[in-house]
């Protein structure tokens, strides 16, 4: 069995997809919870929950983009380094 076929160090597309989903959901969960706590403190207004969930979604999306940009840069540097031998 070749190492490339199931080398877990290379992230498969399915794993990337699950990672992205997990970051978005985790963002919404963490900041939704924070928003809920804030809304409890301010007399149970729902606006903080909604704001928290939206902020968490935005933060999760930013995190996904930052990570993918970093990985693309790393792959480019690695390819450039290998090609410029």
């Amino acid at each position: 069995m070749t190492k490339d076929a199931f080398d877990p160090r290379i992230e498969s597309p399915t794993d990337t997809a699950w990672t992205i989903t997990a970051k978005l959901v985790a963002g919404m969960a963490v900041y939704g919870l924070l928003g809920w706590l804030l809304s409890r403190w301010f007399g149970h207004t729902p606006i903080f929950i909604a704001g928290g969930v939206l902020f968490g979604l935005a933060a999760g999306m930013y995190l996904v983009l930052a990570r993918l940009r970093h990985e693309t840069n790393e792959l480019q540097h690695r390819n450039v380094g290998a090609g410029a031998k």
């Binding site: 199931f6 963490v30 995190l63 930052a66």
Partner: protein
């Protein structure tokens, strides 16, 4: 309060095979099992059903086989011992040494047990008599994934120190410093949750789909077995597809056990190294 038996007893299929209501498509009800024996410990109700009995039988089979294989090892091995050695060497060379290297030899016991346990539980899907892949019930892959999770978290904390392990997980690269504080909890939560979740879901989904597919073809074979042209052709085609699917399912079961163990070894390797 309804006991566990009421919650998990299998409701009969709304459409049975010969009752004239068309094709009785198998659904999630083929994954529900009656409680065969109930008992309570300190007032908490427990029950035993067929998948649990299969799990106990698989564990017993593995323990008995490898006890016999490695009981009295000789330099020139007999048949059972060489089979057991081949099994062990497969896990050691293809899985552990490839991903972790020589330093991971102390984790081979865990990987070895995991591989053969998952494979045998999967294999119950096509083994005559049992014919149910125990790992298609979500609770079994979840339990195994929890064990793997505790293992690689503990190894990572012991090896890199708890502070470095967690900070390595919390701070994503390529993010400017002030935003880091906002993103740290998200990164941390997603890293903690994603790996065990995907491990469990991958195994369960593959086994669930395979079992459902084989069941559909068997029910189609029985449904179409009427003395007519379509009946004969349809039943023959369904029968052939059942046989093909069973062979394919065997390969998938072996593959999923291999992937589960390989990913466990990879996570352990990631915990042992300092980079994330």
């Amino acid at each position: 309060m309804s006991s566990a038996a009421d919650l998990i007893s299998s409701a009969p299929l709304s459409c049975q095979l010969n009752s004239g209501c068309g094709f009785p498509a198998p659904g999630t009800d083929i994954f529900q099992f009656d409680v065969l024996w109930q008992y309570s410990i300190f007032g908490v109700q427990f029950g035993i059903n067929k998948p649990m009995i299969l799990m106990i039988l698989c564990s017993a089979a593995i323990i008995i086989f490898f006890s016999i294989a490695f009981a009295r090892p000789r330099l020139v091995p007999g048949k059972v011992q060489s089979m057991g050695e081949a099994c062990y060497l497969f896990v050691r060379d293809q899985i552990s040494r490839e991903t972790i290297g020589k330093a991971g030899d102390k984790y081979i016991a865990f990987l070895f047990s995991l591989f053969f346990f998952v494979f045998l539980l999967n294999f119950m899907g096509i083994f005559p008599g049992a014919q149910f892949p125990v790992t298609s019930l979500f609770v079994y892959p979840v339990a195994l994934a929890m064990m793997v999770w505790v293992t690689y978290m503990f190894i990572g904390m012991k090896h890199q120190g708890p502070v470095k392990f967690f900070t390595g997980m919390m701070f994503p690269p390529g993010v400017p410093k002030p935003v880091l504080v906002i993103l740290a909890p998200i990164e941390f939560l997603s890293n903690i949750i994603v790996r065990p979740f995907t491990l469990a879901v991958r195994l369960m989904a593959n086994m669930f789909a395979g079992h459902l597919l084989i069941t559909v073809f068997i029910v189609a074979f029985l449904y179409l077995a009427t003395p007519s042209i379509i009946g004969i052709i349809g039943a023959a085609a369904s029968g052939i597809m059942t046989i093909i699917m069973t062979g394919f399912e065997f390969a998938i079961e072996l593959l999923q056990a291999y992937i589960f163990t390989l990913l466990t070894a990879s996570y352990i390797a990631g915990s042992l190294s300092s980079e994330h």
